[in-house]
């Protein structure tokens, strides 16, 4: 059996360096690789290009990397809720490429699945289409988008086994499965790591072939960005 298990986060992130391109799973703060982000903060490498749907908040998620000026460029679909992000963007310290959310997901999946590029109608006729090839299919206009090219993908799952198989929970799944195998090295952190054979193969969301390193995560905060509740009556 092939084992993907590594001892801890520092072995999992072996080889990361300044100037690299990283993918981060998560939507808002849900399903973000908290341990990998904390280790990147500790390593304090910089000039990073980060592909992530959002950019965290001021004191959590990718906001922690922004705070230390480790990020050179963000590729995201939505970057609100982060004052430091705004400051760095407006001062020109931080380069930002905003792309449609479905295009972001598909550019990950294309990299995972071996498609160099694809056509999508999203963004046609808008500034997103500027400088891009366009083409009509079945009477509708589409633009050409390319697969991402990243060095590391950092994903977070609920459960995983030593063979690298992953199971996600709820909407914390989001971009995580699409980023597995979409970079040269995929690092998965999980809330619960079990020996291979313990997870039912029928229940696996992401086969271990897409993952190079897996480790048992620790101290998950799982912060809630917008706590909304209803009253009992």
């Amino acid at each position: 059996m092939i084992t993907k298990k590594v001892a801890d986060v520092s072995s999992a992130l072996k080889g990361v360096d300044s100037g690299m391109t990283f993918m981060f799973g998560g939507f808002g703060l849900s399903g973000i690789p908290e341990n990998a982000i904390a280790e990147l903060v500790r390593l304090n490498i910089n000039k990073l290009t980060c592909i992530s749907n959002n950019a965290g908040v001021d004191d959590f998620g990718l906001g922690l990397l922004l705070h230390q000026h480790q990020i050179k460029k963000m590729i995201s679909s939505y970057v609100g809720e982060n004052a430091e992000f705004e400051r760095q963007m407006l001062s020109g310290e931080l380069e930002v490429e905003l792309i449609p959310q479905g295009t972001l997901a598909e550019r990950c999946r294309a990299a995972q699945a071996g498609f160099p590029a694809f056509y999508t109608p999203a963004g046609y006729g808008t500034e997103v289409a500027q400088g891009k090839e366009s083409r009509e299919f079945n009477g509708k206009m589409h633009i050409l988008e390319y697969a991402f090219d990243a060095d590391f993908a950092f994903v977070k799952a609920w459960k995983g086994d030593t063979a690298g198989n992953l199971i996600f929970k709820g909407t914390a799944r989001n971009f995580n499965p699409n980023m597995c195998g979409a970079a040269k090295i995929t690092v998965a952190e999980v809330e619960e790591l079990v020996p291979a054979g313990e997870l039912d193969p029928n229940e696996i969301h992401m086969p271990g072939i897409f993952i190079q390193r897996i480790f048992q995560g620790v101290n998950y905060e799982k912060r809630i960005e917008q706590r909304t509740v209803r009253q009992r009556n």
């Binding site: 939507f27 808002g28 703060l29 849900s30 399903g31 749907n53 995201s76 679909s77 939505y78 970057v79 609100g80 705004e86 407006l90 905003l98 449609p100 959310q101 479905g102 295009t103 972001l104 997901a105 598909e106 990950c108 999946r109 999508t120 109608p121 999203a122 963004g123 046609y124 006729g125 808008t126 500034e127 997103v128 609920w158 996600f168 929970k169 709820g170 909407t171 914390a172 799944r173 989001n174 971009f175 995580n176 499965p177 699409n178 799982k222 912060r223 809630i224 960005e225 917008q226 706590r227 909304t228 509740v229 209803r230 009253q231 009992r232």
Partner: protein, 217 residues
């Protein structure tokens, strides 16, 4: 003149039995409160859930179960979770029956602008460009004019576009309009609002045919 809840209530009448519906942030979110309870509808949130339910009771919030507005939610029987590529596959593949979203501007050929104001902080388009480019049935929920009193129902959008030629229907605080090849066709007026007042508040070409009925809820 309608308030935001009444706009949502009027749009809820457009939701049919068996529909899968994607609701944008703002007024569209309120539509869920007014859907008739004798029809079956599933709400999709593009971050990866179908069958979205109400907010959780206090103490039952789960950081792993949120909607596209990052709010804690619950799920209803029959719900499912999925990844972002599959979520936008549902949208792009036109499996979602109805998309309801807000707008800053709509033009008479169905263009929509709702993501960027030049010179102001740009937060991003999120899933809006994917939604408007692919959905077959798009209803815009918005106020007829902006805070300065200028029309948002225009000949041509002045703000950067989110999508072209995609809006089918608009429900505002003043009127219900259909986007046709010839312009905005006035279908209904809000209670107490005259056709003249709607005309005044509309910059684009407004088509008025016969008696325009008052909205019912």
């Amino acid at each position: 003149m309608l308030d935001k809840n009444q706009i949502a209530q009027r749009i809820a009448k457009e939701v049919r039995d068996g529909y899968y519906v994607n609701l944008g942030i703002g007024i569209p979110t309120l539509v869920a409160n007014y859907v008739r309870d004798d029809i079956e509808v599933e709400f999709q949130s593009e971050n990866g859930v179908l069958g979205m339910g109400p907010f959780p009771f206090e103490g039952e919030e789960d950081a792993d179960i949120i909607n596209a507005g990052k709010q804690t939610i619950t799920t209803l029987p029959g719900a499912s979770f999925f990844d972002s590529a599959m979520s936008f596959g549902m949208i792009r593949g036109q499996h979602v029956d109805l998309t309801i979203l807000g707008a800053m501007e709509v033009s008479e050929n169905g263009d929509i602008a709702n993501w960027k104001i030049p010179g102001k902080m740009v937060k991003g388009m999120g899933g809006a460009m994917d939604l408007v480019a692919s959905a077959d049935n798009i209803i815009v929920a918005m106020m007829h004019t902006n805070r300065a009193g200028a029309s948002k129902v225009l000949k041509q959008c002045s703000l950067p576009l989110t999508g072209v030629g995609c809006v089918k229907k608009i429900v505002t605080n003043l009127a219900v309009m259909e986007v046709t090849n010839d312009g905005f066709k006035l279908l209904e007026r809000a209670p107490g609002v005259t056709v003249e007042a709607i005309k005044q508040a509309t910059d684009g070409h407004l088509i008025i045919e016969g008696e325009i009925p008052e909205m019912s809820f």
